[in-house]
Amino acid sequence: MSLLDMIGPVMIGPSSSHTAGACRIGLAARQLLGHTPEKAHLGLHASFAKTGKGHGTHLALIAGLLGFEPHDPRLPQAFQEAEKAGLHFEFQDTDLGNVHPNTAQITLQGGQTSIEVMASSTGGGIIEVIEVDHFKVSFDGFSPTLLLKYQDAYGMISRVTGLIAIDEVNIASLTCTREKRGGTALMCIVLDSGLSDYAIRKIAHIPEISWIRMLPGFKRL
């Protein structure tokens, strides 16, 4: 939480939680896929489903998937922009259980890869990503965030954090979850600043790592 979140974001109306937050959820999902998706399935929970229409929630989510920020003047025309960008999408009302009422579950496909992301919009344009490919996570997308999928093995955290230390970057939080011992695991590292391309390449070369994404952090303008 920063002072800049309390007076901001600069955004296209009408709702910071339903519009700006929704846009950032789309943006986070896009960053996790790594590029503009070709196909998107968007499940809207509770308040997102109920009052999303009048708040431009659907437009804002698609705007985010296209890489637009909450203040982008193209946000109200996001559906037309999606057609131009070759993004096909479908919305569905869904019950995601005991999560924040403003939560979306987004499945993206494109370029031989896919991702599933669940995230909540908690007010004032602030979001929390709560699941990536069914692994529990918790990050807000404002700080640079490194995500890794890897084969569970001893020493993984030490190898990854060692390379981050060489870059002289501080770790704000680190969580790991795994399917089972020795199974696929996901590491989520929130950083105080971004990593060098060199460090990211070195981390990506660790043999157990099958997937890596460095999210740059949302701009606060």
Partner: protein
């Protein structure tokens, strides 16, 4: 960051808020001030756009209020009142048209701070640079409230949403007019304590009615709080306990009164009839 921390800070309170936040988030004071300057410019832009047009919102429920008031004769001969109300509505009507605004702290409450702060500054002929640190203080008050309560209507009712923006605006106006840290925090507390219980009941779930006029009323409410605090009046209840009380009421409030459009003004027969007609016309 609690209200008590801000209250005890040397005056002006904004400097302590700025230093503390910069340490926490690793930004420099100048970076934060620069963003605040750009936010003031954005607020001004939305006020100007909103005062000029009477274009309707998505549903047609609002869109002409700010211009209507601005162009009308000043019936009370109270130019400050009219300016504060018109500025606040201008911002929220821009918001309802899917125009560009600054969420402060949310989009539904975006008009309160610019209405009160920029309205007072323009009334007194002050420069925008004078608003930068008061806006920092406003953000600090918002941070203190959000320690205990989400600041959205869907989480805590409108008391949490526009109550927060009014408290933030009250502190900012108090500091702008030379108030001490203590006065600014008590202004915030008085604004918040007199908002407790306010439900969030937007017609059809749209951020239009009562949101637009509510921003005008609460911008004035914030200015009133500042006036009381500058005259050394204080909240009888300690400021942080006012937040606790608001949060407690928010948790007790049924879901129907928290932005679901299932209670209050949203459920009046007129609102229901209007929405039915709207649905027909959209088909």
């Amino acid at each position: 960051m609690t209200l008590d921390d801000i209250l005890k800070a040397p005056s002006p309170a904004s400097q302590w808020v700025l230093d503390t936040d910069c340490e926490e988030n690793g930004l420099s004071a100048e970076e934060v001030k620069q963003v605040m300057r750009s936010r003031i410019a954005e607020m001004r832009d939305s006020i100007e756009r909103g005062l000029k047009t009477d274009a309707r919102s998505i549903t047609g429920m609002v869109g002409w209020n700010a211009k209507g008031l601005w162009d009308a004769p000043d019936a009370l001969n109270a130019p400050l009142l009219k300016r504060v109300q018109a500025y606040a509505m201008a911002v929220n009507e821009e918001n309802a048209r899917m125009g560009r605004i600054v969420a402060a702290p949310t989009a539904g409450s975006a008009g309160t701070i610019p209405g009160a702060l920029i309205g007072v500054a323009d009334h007194l002929g002050l420069e925008d640079e004078a608003l930068v640190m008061p806006l920092v203080l406003a953000a600090g008050i918002g941070k203190a409230i959000s320690r205990q309560m989400y600041i959205s209507g869907s989480a805590g009712g409108c008391q949490a949403e526009i109550g927060s923006s009014a408290a933030m605006a009250a502190a900012a106006v108090t500091e702008l007019l030379g108030g001490t840290s203590r006065a600014a925090v008590h202004a915030a507390a008085m604004a918040l304590m007199n908002t407790i219980g306010l439900v969030c009941d937007p017609v059809g779930g749209y951020v239009e009615v009562p949101c637009v006029s509510r921003n005008a009323f609460f911008a004035v409410h914030a200015v009133s709080s500042a006036q009381l605090a500058l005259a050394q009046l204080e909240s009888f209840i300690p400021p942080d306990e006012v937040i606790t009380a608001m949060a407690q009421v928010g948790r007790m409030m049924p879901l129907q009164l928290k932005e679901t459009a299932e209670g209050g003004l949203a459920q009046t027969p007129f609102a229901q009839g209007f929405l039915k007609d709207l649905e027909k016309s959209q088909k």
